[in-house]
Symmetry: C2
Subunit: 219 residues, 2 copies
């Protein structure tokens, strides 16, 4: 499958390496491909993952049958605009980003919160794209390897307006990464809940001294 | 032990009935005791729980060796002011309230969020009281009966500035209700995290069709 990933930080790298390793054609989109390839962390990673193409947001979006948004929150709307609505139209966009604001110190606050969400902002920007929010509530390592923690007995959340798109994403999450416990929270406004969960996630990270944890909804 | 509970809604009633049933002297504080006793739901409840005294915020706070804040969020600061700083000074206040704003429809939003919390507002109002935020992330039934769900294998969170007060509260939660899994998140600012978790809690309630669930932090 042709998969575009926007964002070349740790999350984008982790997802790209995994998806490439299981046989998908992965294109990473970035603002300036030459600058990204010249970055020390990215250059080292790309040597090990040279099958992954690195190109502009627009070329990556055009190449992807499905788009994964692994951008830093503050860069999301500008980067998706650069990617081009036509290149994203009619496609599923899996939104993994969080609206983290690091300008007020640690832990970060949220630059969209409570009465709106970054996922809704993306959906409003791209009305013809099926935005599905998921994977934003846990570390990159666990995103691609849920079975490494308690045999996968913990939960992923899903928000989106289109039932067909959500069903497809559940299928991809299972096939690509082995997710077995996924809760559909409802429409895209429910992403307010999973973006706001970052506030306790960040404090659990600090209290537990590790990011290798996840939420299980016990019923 | 003399325990004051402020607030006479479902949470206050549930906590008062439980604590009274295990032998504590429970005083419920309310704005207008006569009006509360005349309320149909409260009158019926009080017939079954007549050992629980019902009086003003100030008298209840004065009588309590420890205070449980089970007030509706919007009423908290005014009611604690009415309770009187002198009646609360030097005592532990377990804050169970959430800053829910129902004025914009369902699900409610939060009237304090992200850069502040209701727990911090209480701590600033009452600098000589040891505010410990806990129990605000689950239904009243589960607060007093954690073992009824998965044998207690799920988590409660704790936030507060005073280590001794937090240790005492952990002891009470274990002794009163049987809590065995409690995570100390840190100082009172970490209550931002547990108040904001309400956003996903409310959407899980809707998606699951039950409030009989809780978060487990899987490590």
């Amino acid at each position: 499958m042709n998969i575009a990933i926007l964002g070349t930080g740790g999350v984008g790298q982790t997802l790209a390496a995994k998806l490439s390793s299981i046989g998908h054609t992965v294109t990473l989109g970035t603002r300036d491909a030459a600058a990204t390839l010249a970055r020390e962390d990215f250059g080292a990673w790309h040597k090990e993952n040279s099958a992954v193409k690195v190109t502009s947001f627009a070329e990556a979006a055009a190449a992807g049958e499905i788009i994964l948004n692994a951008l830093a929150g503050h860069a999301v709307l500008d980067s998706l605009t650069a990617a081009g609505e036509a290149n994203l139209s009619g496609k599923i966009l899996i939104d993994i980003s969080n609206p983290l604001d690091f300008s007020k110190g640690m832990p970060p606050t949220l630059f969209v919160v409570d009465t709106d969400s970054l996922a809704e902002q993306i959906q409003r920007l791209l009305p013809n794209t099926h935005v599905v929010k998921t994977l934003n509530t846990l570390s990159a390592h666990l995103m691609i390897n849920p079975q490494s923690l308690a045999g996968g007995d913990h939960h992923l959340f899903l928000s989106g307006n289109d039932a067909g798109a959500k069903a497809a994403v559940v299928g991809y999450l299972t096939e690509w990464f082995g997710w077995t416990h996924i809760i559909d929270l409802g429409d895209i406004t429910t992403a307010r809940g999973t973006e706001m969960i970052l506030a306790v996630w960040l404090r659990l990270w600090s209290a537990l001294g590790t990011a290798n944890f996840n939420f299980k909804i016990v019923q």
